[in-house]
């Protein structure tokens, strides 16, 4: 075999701590290596051309590039060798940047390690075989999980692109957090005025099927051919019959039900419609508070309903939706501020969250847009905003910046002044994070035009004094302790991963970080892809985001799906399991362990044998390590390929002499 080896400098990224020329020289001594060299940037155009030229000049059978992580550039170089006429799987990569040059400073050790890593890549390549991808059909339907603004945008863009869309929303209405907002920064335009039409579009779009009050139960299949089980939770109202007239909600005698939409600052009726612009505008019953369901009395709504839509005996129902791609847009939840005992831990009625304040500000909220204190209904004069409650705080395991709090607080300060011209706002902040278009100007306006008093420092404690609250903080710029007598305190609570996010990630087989935010495929270059083909991300499920970013991601994810579906057939990854029929004894152990049901039993001249359904196989290799006969081999990660790597490391003297 004739192998070409290219050791990349990556500028000084690798060459700074690895003697790349030495590595090329040492690896060049290996038996199958016909050509070995170092190259400045292997991935650059001249770098790739150099590889192609060498393949031609030296008639190479395969290529090893020792550079960065294969998770980054393996596809790049596979295309390169393909351009030179080789099969793309006659290529191996050694990671001498992330795994060598960036994590150690000792040049001698690094160089030796790079030699070893390149050597195992060469060893593996000697066992590589050309692989040819197969094609399979695509179900051009997409599921969007989460009906916040990111999910709505993704759903609409996909639907407008001609795709059938299934939108699954956990709560009774789409709209997400944005629907709860009164105004949006930095334009102070009405949230429902810009979101409302989009919600209506979702309801009316012929290509969109909406499941509200529903959750994803399980996900099977693979890109192009997923099967998602969606659990439609019982609403106790037949939504095909319900017209959303609202008569039931007016007459329901149980009025103490938790009002989740209004962030619990008010109560609602047991049968309710979340808010006037809800989509779908359908009533649903909270069984915890329904007198009929809990005590078998009442039944008023059933009697009144003009369309006879009430179903007290409704059960959850599961539907199976076959789709070809999935967009996760599950958003975020708010940090539980009651963990801050020094802010009262939830004991003070006039210390509220920023989202509760949005509901207070909202004309359609429980206070009809008049700012009043929850405790006594009085108009506040001094309103204090406390930033970074559950953000940038290691002591509560939330070291990250939630990103949008600075902006909405500025907006709320402006709105406070608009609503109550005699009021005075104070904002305790650590740093103002306003790196968007017109954002910093906006926070400046809050201070310059609306007189918000910004105080740089955290708040150490809030405690009641009479009917006011003493907010004691620091003004670190003045170098002193300060106190404000507040009538209302608004905590800018941080964003955290939506409850149940990790659970869904496990169903989707995508990764999540320690806080539960979903991992994108590449931080910069693949921001809406995941490592699971056919699953995309949009919005705050990937990390806290404001509305423009969420919308952008919704569109980005939609464009990725549209791109994926632009082909009628997808190429399957040929790195799948393959059965050696001679060796197979038909015991079916592989069938038992395959996580995807990708192996079936077939009859071969009267003998049972295993057979791999190539489009279903995901290439995990569990079967290969299950089969004692070695009869089923995961292509490109065969026993022989891995053994070659192990042998390359173990069956040679530990220290190869450099001399």
């Amino acid at each position: 075999m004739k192998i070409g080896v290219f050791i990349c400098h990556c500028g000084s990224n690798i060459a700074g701590t690895v003697d790349v020329a030495k590595v090329a020289e040492e690896v060049g001594k290996l038996p199958d290596v016909a050509y070995s060299t170092d190259t400045m940037y292997a991935c650059s155009e001249p770098g790739q051309e150099g590889i192609i030229q060498a393949i031609k000049d030296h008639n190479l059978d395969g290529v090893v590039v020792a550079s960065c992580t294969p998770r980054m550039h393996e596809p790049t170089f596979r295309r390169t060798v393909e351009r030179a006429g080789l099969n793309r799987y006659m290529f191996e990569m050694a990671n001498i940047r992330e795994h060598v040059s960036w994590i150690g400073k000792d040049k001698e050790s690094n160089t030796q390690k790079a030699v070893d890593l390149a050597s195992i890549a060469v060893a593996k390549l000697t066992q590589d075989r050309p692989l040819i991808a197969k094609k399979f059909g695509v179900n051009k339907r997409v599921m969007v999980i989460g009906g916040g603004v990111a999910g709505i945008q993704a759903a609409l863009d996909c639907a407008d692109g001609g795709l059938e869309v299934v939108l699954v929303e956990k709560t009774a209405t789409i709209g997400g957090k944005m629907a709860k907002l009164d105004k949006t920064f930095p334009t102070v335009d009405c949230s429902s005025c810009i979101l409302g039409p989009k919600m209506v579009d979702v309801a009316q779009h012929p290509n969109i099927t909406l499941y509200a009050n529903a959750e994803v139960d399980s996900v099977k299949g693979y890109v192009g051919n997923f099967e998602v089980a969606v659990k439609k939770k019982a609403t106790y109202v037949d939504w095909t019959a319900c017209t959303g007239c609202g008569l039931c909600t007016e007459k329901c005698p149980s009025k103490k039900a938790t009002d989740y939409f209004n962030e619990k600052i008010a109560t609602t009726t047991a049968i309710s419609i979340a808010f006037p612009q809800a989509i779908p505008k359908k009533a649903s019953i909270d069984p915890e508070y329904c007198i009929k369901i809990t005590k078998d009395k009442c039944g008023v709504c059933e009697k009144l309903c003009p369309t006879k839509a009430i179903r007290y005996d409704m059960q959850d129902e599961t539907v199976i939706e076959p789709v070809g791609a999935i967009i996760a847009a599950t958003g975020y939840d708010l940090f539980d501020y009651t963990r801050y005992g020094e802010y009262g831990g939830g004991r003070y009625p006039d210390v509220i969250t920023s989202l509760q304040y949005e509901r207070i500000l909202s004309a359609s909220g429980p206070m009809a847009g008049h700012i009043k204190r929850p405790s006594d209904g009085k108009e506040p004069k001094n309103v204090v905003f406390v930033q970074c409650v559950g953000s940038r705080d290691k002591s509560v395991d939330r070291p990250y910046c939630s990103g949008f709090c600075c902006m909405y607080t500025a907006k709320q300060a402006i709105q406070t002044k608009d609503h109550l011209p005699d009021s005075q706002t104070y904002v305790f902040y650590m740093d103002i994070r306003a790196p968007g278009k017109m954002y910093d100007e906006f926070t400046r306006r809050a201070m310059e035009e609306y007189g918000a008093r910004y105080i740089r420092g955290r708040v150490a404690m809030i405690y009641p004094k009479g009917d006011k609250y003493i907010v004691r903080g620091a003004d670190t710029l003045a170098g002193t302790q300060v106190e404000v007598e507040a009538d209302l305190v608004v905590l800018a609570v941080g964003a955290e991963a939506a409850k149940g996010a990790s659970n869904l990630a496990e169903k989707l087989r995508i990764s999540y970080d320690k806080y539960g935010f979903y991992m994108e495929s590449h931080v910069k270059l693949r921001p809406v892809e995941t490592n699971t083909a056919g699953v995309f991300l949009a919005g705050s499920c990937q990390g806290p985001k404001d509305i423009p970013s969420s919308v952008a991601q919704g569109s980005a994810a939609a464009s990725k799906v549209l791109g994926l579906f632009s082909k009628d057939e997808l190429e399957s990854d040929p790195q799948v399991a393959s059965v050696d029929i001679k060796r197979c004894v038909g015991c079916g152990k592989c069938i038992e362990t395959c996580p995807f049901g990708a192996i079936e039993e077939t009859d071969f001249r009267g003998e049972p044998k295993a057979n791999v359904i190539e489009t279903v196989c995901q290439g995990c290799g569990v079967c290969t390590s299950t089969c004692p006969q070695g009869a089923i081999q995961l292509q490109h990660f065969t026993d022989n390929q891995i053994l070659a790597e192990v042998n390359a490391l173990c069956q040679q003297p530990l220290v190869t002499s450099f001399e």
Binding site: R71, E98, H99, G104, D106, M519, C620, V622, C650, P653
Partner: protein, 154 residues
Amino acid sequence: MSAAPGNELRIIGFLCNWCSYGGADTAGVGRMTQPTDLRIIRVPCSGRIDPLFVLKALVNGADGVLVSGCHPRDCHYAEGNFYARRRLEVLKRFLQVLGIDERRFEYTWVSASEGQRWQEVVQKFTERIHELGPAPKITPDQMAMAETMAAQPR
């Protein structure tokens, strides 16, 4: 306790592509310094790892073998690491009668976001292997090889 050059021990890592290999990349991107002894072999999933690969390495002179996969419940292939956990646990205990110190083998879970955790794992495992020292040369031919190597001019 990064080994001094020339004082390195032979440590082999089998890492799943999606989580732990990514975690090692994350550690690299974060320039999290680690001992240099470890050589990583990339496999698609911890479920791909036949325990015999580990034994093959240990029998043939590896001083330590580290396997790392996705955290249970978070396998890219849904179930691979669940199988791996059972196999590797049995393997670890099997070592107790093979005359191979079971501390020379460890398996763990590191996600793609856990660069720092990866750094800690490598640090800890490398330290452990250095405390144990080079693996005893269990077979005469290995002893012979060790002698040849020792005689080699450095």
